[in-house]
């Protein structure tokens, strides 16, 4: 996972609330066998509409999504985070997230920051006045800057540390790799092995 301190990029004013994971990525896309390539599936139900905000030319290449409250509720599918990452988002800001979605985000390098509702409104207003304006999300300082406006966001200390260090779950465990090595050295010889293939 990439280390994450600061992101500067185009932000999308996503004026919707209660966007559940089924809307982020519909169930039909779950049959795939890959962990990437879900960018076409993101918000698939809305993408046909040329007026849909993600289709607008001024927001192409966006890295920051700013949404209304209760983003990512519903089913626990990790694909929701994959789809947002694959589309190019590094940050989602919302007044409130679904718990599992927020947990999954932290594990996959997507910053899910909580911004107070009036601040979300203020950010939307700035972006809509100057579509395509670049915002800066500073994880070290926990703040978002849009032009002259700077507002705080919340993220728990543990997730913030993991993102800054660029540690996914596996990376975190592998920091203890020598402990695993030591454990393996003491494993008894009679414990089962699948290789080599024995004939029975």
């Amino acid at each position: 996972m990439q280390k994450f301190e600061k992101v500067t990029g185009i932000a999308v004013p996503f004026r919707r609330s209660n966007v559940d994971t089924d809307q982020i990525i519909p169930a039909v896309y779950l049959k795939r066998v890959t962990k990437t390539g879900f960018e076409d599936a993101l918000f698939a139900g809305w993408r046909q509409d040329p007026e849909f905000v993600l289709n607008r030319p001024e927001y192409q290449g966006a890295r920051i999504l700013i949404t209304g409250p209760d983003f990512g509720t519903g089913s626990s599918r990790e694909h929701a985070v994959w789809a947002l990452r694959d589309f190019g988002f590094d940050v989602v800001l919302s007044p409130r997230f679904g718990d599992i979605f927020r947990g999954n985000s932290g594990k996959q390098g997507l910053l899910a920051g909580e911004v107070a509702e009036p601040d979300v409104e203020a950010l939307w207003a700035i972006i809509e006045a100057q579509p395509g304006i670049e915002l800066t999300v500073d994880l070290v300082e926990r703040k978002v800057t849009a032009g002259s406006l700077s507002v705080p966001f919340e993220i728990d200390d543990y997730t913030r540390w993991r993102l800054i260090e660029g540690l996914d779950d596996i990376g975190l465990t592998l920091r203890d790799a020598d402990r695993i090595d030591r454990f393996e050295q003491t494993r008894e010889s009679w414990r089962p092995r699948t290789l080599p293939v024995k004939q029975s």
Partner: protein, 482 residues
Amino acid sequence: MNANTSDTLPPRTLAEKVWDAHLVSKGENGEPDLIYIDLHLVHEVTSPQAFDGLRMAGRPVRRPDLTIATEDHNTPTIGIDKPIADLTSRTQIETLRRNCAEFGVRLHSLGDIEQGIVHVVGPQLGLTQPGITVVCGDSHTSTHGAFGAMAFGIGTSEVEHVLATQTLPLKPFKTMAITVEGTLRPGVTAKDIILAVIAKIGTGGGQGYVLEYRGSAIRALSMDGRMTICNMSIEAGARAGMVAPDHTTFDYVKGRAHAPEGQDWDDAVAYWRTLATDDGATFDAEVFIDADALEPFVTWGTNPGQGVSLSDTVPNPVEIEDPHERAAAERALEYMDLAAGTPLKDIAVDAVFMGSCTNSRIEDLRAFASVIQGKKKADGVRVMVVPGSARVRIEAEAEGLDKIITDFGAEWRFAGCSMCLGMNPDQLAPGERCASTSNRNFEGRQGKGGRTHLVSPLVAAATAIRGTLSSPWDLQIEGEAR
């Protein structure tokens, strides 16, 4: 040695002993423990994204020698030499083959003698052993607990975690003792015990627990029977089910392809003998079942907890006190198209499915065959027999069971999950009713609109003969009356 038990430790349960022996590091400040995994079973449905994740991060499989894969969920059970027709199924299987080749994981493909349902294959190879930790991206991994192993299902991101690190961060489980004392009557089986347990504690009753099955009725069971019981622990909401290893377990493991040999065998058995729950150890909860009183059991609803004795009638939701359960029962009866008060034995079926990781081992097939031998199936009933693994199929054929099954008028298939979940073409048609030896009677589980009654192999056999839900007891009565 990790496995050493010390006299200074307080009395511990079987589950706690296995846990402690696999602690790589103890979590502090509410963080999870890091637990070492001895055996990782892999199949085509829950592994593709895990391998993809490894590839993206440039990580290898840490211990291919503790990992084994088989194809089961999607595989066809007839025409296995032809390409798989369904595109999603074929893609998943081809992806598994590519991933296993790339990452050096042993795979038993369709057509291989060790191919079969992942939970039948592990024990059969002697890989499932007492006191080990076993995981698989499948909830019925609890099956392996029958050996006194700690075995549980995991999600796809955890599959990736185990592939990469051979460990899992986990919070300790609570423990529940399920004590089954007494002697089962002839015609009553392990399946009836576990259906009765789930009816008693409910589908959420085991949540957060490891269940340890104990008592004389459990000790008297074969390994196949113990696997049936542990298999369905998950249907009571539990993470895992376990049975302390004993001579039945050791006899089963001994001589199998991956069983320890020579000095290793002696050392292993010496350790395995220390695993049983200590006298004075305490469980967080306890449940008692009287084996003498058990009868053949059957489900009437759409979750495995909605079951009664076969001699009973379909319950009346009005008499259920809990409002949620009452509503669930009403919905279930509507879906199942059953009227309260109907004797279960009056219910006619369209199909009988004999298979799944719950009941597809050789003993299950023998039990089924013993009832149908020399008889013909009821007219209009489709009977499908699906062995759990290619090896079980060969064993059954060597014993002539296939002949008994086909003479009876049943279909004798190749190994796989088959109609347990209907991911392959083996499915019920809408409205069809099936007596099934599998483990889930959820709406649509065996095919859209299909209606499932969970039963033992003996009940499946008697039902196939009479065409209505029946046990071998009913056949005897008929025989005497003649």
